[in-house]
Symmetry: C2
Subunit: 388 residues, 2 copies
Amino acid sequence: MSYRRLKQSKSSKARRGQLTTRRGVLETPFFMPIATKAAVKSLTYEDLQALEAQIVLSNTYHLMLKPGNSLIKKVGGLHHFMNWDKPILTDSGGFQVFSLSKIRKITEEGVEFRSHIDGSKHFIKPEDSIQIQLDLGSDIVMAFDECVELPAKKEYLEKSVELTTRWAKRCQEYFVSNLRKVTNNTKTRQPLLFGIVQGGLDKGLRKKSAQDLVSIGFDGYAIGGLSVGESEKEMYKVLDYITDELPEDKPRYLMGVGRPENIINAVKRGVDMFDCVIPTREARHGRLYLWRDGLRNYKRLRKVTKTKQLNILNNPKSCYKTINITSEKYSKKFEPINAESKFPVLRNYTKAYLRHLFSVNEPLAIRLATLNNLEFYLGLMEKIRRAI
Amino acid sequence: MSYRRLKQSKSSKARRGQLTTRRGVLETPFFMPIATKAAVKSLTYEDLQALEAQIVLSNTYHLMLKPGNSLIKKVGGLHHFMNWDKPILTDSGGFQVFSLSKIRKITEEGVEFRSHIDGSKHFIKPEDSIQIQLDLGSDIVMAFDECVELPAKKEYLEKSVELTTRWAKRCQEYFVSNLRKVTNNTKTRQPLLFGIVQGGLDKGLRKKSAQDLVSIGFDGYAIGGLSVGESEKEMYKVLDYITDELPEDKPRYLMGVGRPENIINAVKRGVDMFDCVIPTREARHGRLYLWRDGLRNYKRLRKVTKTKQLNILNNPKSCYKTINITSEKYSKKFEPINAESKFPVLRNYTKAYLRHLFSVNEPLAIRLATLNNLEFYLGLMEKIRRAI
């Protein structure tokens, strides 16, 4: 059993637990920084260690095109390639095939598409996606699914969900029969395989998708096809019922979500795993996530009452703020970027200095902002785990 | 006396010494990493500390335009702004005014120019340059000079050298009379002022420039207007005689030079100080400086014979190589970027990984290459000091 629930909130579906992978035990709920092209933009593995990231996510689509999965396999996997010895989750490539590339044709067999880099033609089928992820040495492998942009016609969605289920079945069969080739075949050395629930905003389809996947049987279940154009309210509505369709003894992963309040609202609906480009992408545009007074200091937090701790679950938006450091108003703010940071560079450099670095396009700006935002997001998850 | 010669080579004019500034003693000969816009591109002050950089150079022209010297003065100077407590040398802005901006008019009084950023009109006179450098809190202030591009007509060069000398005199007078305003007026708390020898490739003019500056009297002497289009041979020819015109008890600074062999050849002609964009700029284009076997390992170096050590002075090009890490041939080189580096990231990441980072435009690539090249350049200076 890879997932173990340690604690169940009484006031919501929020749960704290542990997910065991072949590269260590992950405390849930957790957030995965995104190492799209085998690096979290501007950071080294030393930075990720200092951030105490438990796991990172890397993108199959990007890596299969550059530098190519066969090259990464040759060096002994993504962990060796990027010098990272903790778990890595790889997406299936599906999302990028459907969002970045020019799709030529979706068939029962798979998808023909053109690379967004050089226009070269590629064909990927569910089995290929799994094989690439096994080549990469992924610890959590995602099934290959069709991602439908919302809004979508019910008729199309219906067919798509059925296709995704058939693909999921093929993924699972390929995964199981090829595991022995890539591992020494002991359970503890095997990666995990997750299925992805689709179905748009249609309750019937979502439930059917979940039930079909559960009957195939996966190590965990992702909720895909959300945060793709629908409102937050619509997203929460899906989460309100979908986790009830998923086994209690398996982890649930909400893909590509989100802002701190989205994460908290999803945790309260029973979600355990998250990834999102927000902290890193917004950092590159100068948006910093900062704790408001009172929740900033970890040590202080440990001493506050249980009631106050719970505040982060009940009123997330009041606990933090974002600032746009590129704004003129920070040009003379000679106060630390983040006085409570564990990183000396964020305590010793001023907001005015960081603003200057952005205004003259110094690459250091991105690094500092990225460190700040990932520390915030990983700190957020720690606070959430403590508050459950 | 700010400069003290500790050792004089018997086989060349090379000398080892110490330059005392208000922010500490510098071992000469030394190299200054360039922090153009108040940051060595992609590096933090922690990185510079780890590199054991003794001093950095920052650019008056860039900083006066962005974020502006008054803002930096407000925060207590460049050291506070960029969180760096070791010495900073600032250039006078002259070189950039003449190379980057559109010059409107050079008069006896100063230079009218347009900003290369927004085309705004500015006027800078020698006194302004000194005041800006004092505002920045520079530890080594450079006189404002006219930089003439080579080749140049003798007639123009002659007038230019005379103008530079008159400007140098004004700089010196302004510097002395304004020092008391910015320091507590004790000698040890004062910055140093350097004059800049000009004169192109004309021996007579160069000698005259040097003699005129020496008669004004500066804390050190820079050799400017070289490495601006002339051949290496022509540059060495100037160095062959120019250091003899400069006082033995003052430091000599060859501005904007150069490749390792240029630095070594200049050291052998009696130069003590260097700055150059080469290690950092080339890093950004994927060119790495690496020691050849035998000279790579510092510890090993300490044990080798005196004769072997001197090799670096006698045959610099045989001691190192440069590689273009973006080349296809590194895509499968699963060996450390630099096995002898003091930085774990350079020992643990492979050449293939760094090549990948460059090929997908990851900002981390620049940081790793910059660390490598500055470690090489600062290590080069250490080897030179030891070999003298």
